[in-house]
């Protein structure tokens, strides 16, 4: 039964991907990309990757669709030209596909416990986590503590993308580009004249925020953590911005607060590492943060997950505001 379900999901993935590439309407392509992300999230869940499925659903199907739609609103909706050099591209792609296909025959068998990837470090992580860190979710333990340096680099990448988009889209547009706000597009009004989305979004936004905080703090006990929580909290504010208008959202959570979140999260993460150094151990060694090394590890993981959540929220919301405010700049 699982085989059937897996085969069905994978086939749907391929069909959706072909449809995305072939359609000329970019709006349809972005919507199909959302469906593609959700299907691949279901597939990840089938492959026992619960954390990854949650992240892909929240970030890929949720935030990515909003960003693409924001960019589509500022550019054109249709793809104009036909593809030149179509047969040459197809030939190159087919050649590359055959090479990679030939390589897959050497791959280890699916689900084999003796495959090389399960041999060296992974059993050590699974064995030693109850002893050194003592939290149930091994993925968070590896992400936060054993591979904390990688996650620090990732927080810096997210931060860089945020300030990159702010640099690109903060400059004022020339007078030719500005569009006079008309009745339907007035950003100050948003969608407030529509009662049903107004009521439902006002009902749901606090619960989405609450769920985001739940996911943030339960990252150690189940699937969750900073990235998913950041995406969820950003989604709550984006929902509010879609209904109430982007300017009101900037009054609720001003750009200064978003900058503080962005910078503060990365500083918090780096700061925890430096505190470790000041206590005499290496950078990002959490065991010295408390008297008991295990408690120190748990405290360190909570702090850095908070830093990650802060940065991701600040960056995603800043990018959304940068796209949404571009019209009226």
């Amino acid at each position: 039964m699982t085989v059937l379900f897996g085969v069905l999901l994978l086939t749907l993935l391929v069909i959706t991907a072909v449809a995305i590439v072939r359609t000329k309407n970019l709006f349809v392509a972005v919507m199909l990309l959302g469906i593609f992300s959700l299907l691949i999230a279901a597939n990840f869940f089938l492959l026992d990757a619960a954390d990854v499925a949650l992240t892909e659903a929240a970030v890929g199907a949720g935030i990515s669709t909003v960003l693409f739609l924001g960019a589509l609103a500022l550019t054109s909706e249709f793809e104009h030209a036909a593809t030149p050099h179509r047969w040459l591209s197809l030939a190159v792609v087919t050649g590359a596909a055959l090479v990679v296909l030939y390589a897959t025959f050497d791959k280890p068998e699916f689900g084999d416990p003796n495959a090389p990837v399960h041999q060296h470090v992974a059993p050590w992580y699974l064995q030693k986590t109850p002893e050194y860190i003592d939290i149930p979710n091994v993925v968070t333990a590896v992400l936060g503590s054993y591979r904390g340096y990688d996650t620090l680099g990732e927080v810096f990448v997210v931060f860089t993308a945020g300030i990159g988009v702010l640099f690109l889209l903060s400059a004022r547009r020339g007078p030719a580009g500005r569009r006079r706000p008309d009745q339907a597009h007035d950003p100050a009004i948003g969608l407030r004249s529509h009662v049903i989305p107004l009521v439902v979004s006002r009902l749901l936004a606090p619960f989405i925020l609450l769920f985001g905080l739940y996911v943030q703090f339960h990252g150690e006990y189940g699937p969750g953590g900073g990235f998913q929580a950041g995406a969820l909290i950003a989604a709550a504010f984006i929902l509010y911005a879609l209904i109430e208008g982007e300017e009101r959202t900037l009054r609720v959570l001003p750009q200064g607060a978003l900058n503080a979140l962005m910078v503060g999260g990365a500083l918090l993460y780096g700061g925890v590492g430096v505190v470790g150094m000041l206590e005499g151990a290496e950078f990002l060694n959490y065991s010295v943060l408390a008297a008991n090394p295990v408690k120190g590890q748990q405290l360190g993981i909570i702090l850095i997950e908070a830093g990650v959540g802060m940065t991701v929220t600040g960056v995603l919301l800043s990018i959304f505001h940068a796209f949404a405010a571009r019209d009226r700049a």
Partner: protein
């Protein structure tokens, strides 16, 4: 079970090549970014396929369940990072596309090259 494993790898190859074709052959910049997103998702599928252990479960300990096989947590951590990095890159790419549209007036690659050549 072996058919399912091989099917996962074949679907990975097909998705990889679909994304690659969109990046290489399409002229619209946003279509290229969408193709890049599909390409990245195919790579994620490969890693998570490699992390699965048959008969295993998600690597989350629980007091009620003991003595069970766990799937490999390490590729999941790598892919978690990769997903967020992918969305950051896509967001930055979309920002650049918006600015290109404002400066050149078009998002089609051949028209941009035409304008540059003049």
């Amino acid at each position: 079970m072996e058919f399912l494993g091989l099917y996962h790898y074949w679907v990975f190859v097909v998705l990889l090549m679909i994304g690659f074709y969109a990046v290489v052959a399409k002229v619209n910049l946003i279509k290229k970014l969408i193709g890049l997103s599909i390409f990245q998702s195919a790579v994620f599928l490969l890693y998570i396929t490699m992390s699965k252990v048959s008969g295993g479960t998600a690597p989350i300990f629980s007091e009620k369940i003991t003595g069970v096989l766990y799937s490999n947590p390490l590729p999941q951590v790598l892919i978690l990072t990769a997903i967020v990095v992918g969305i950051s890159t896509t967001a930055l790419g979309l920002g650049i596309v918006v600015r290109i549209k404002e400066e050149y007036g078009t998002t089609e690659e051949h028209e941009i090259q035409e304008i540059d050549r003049r």
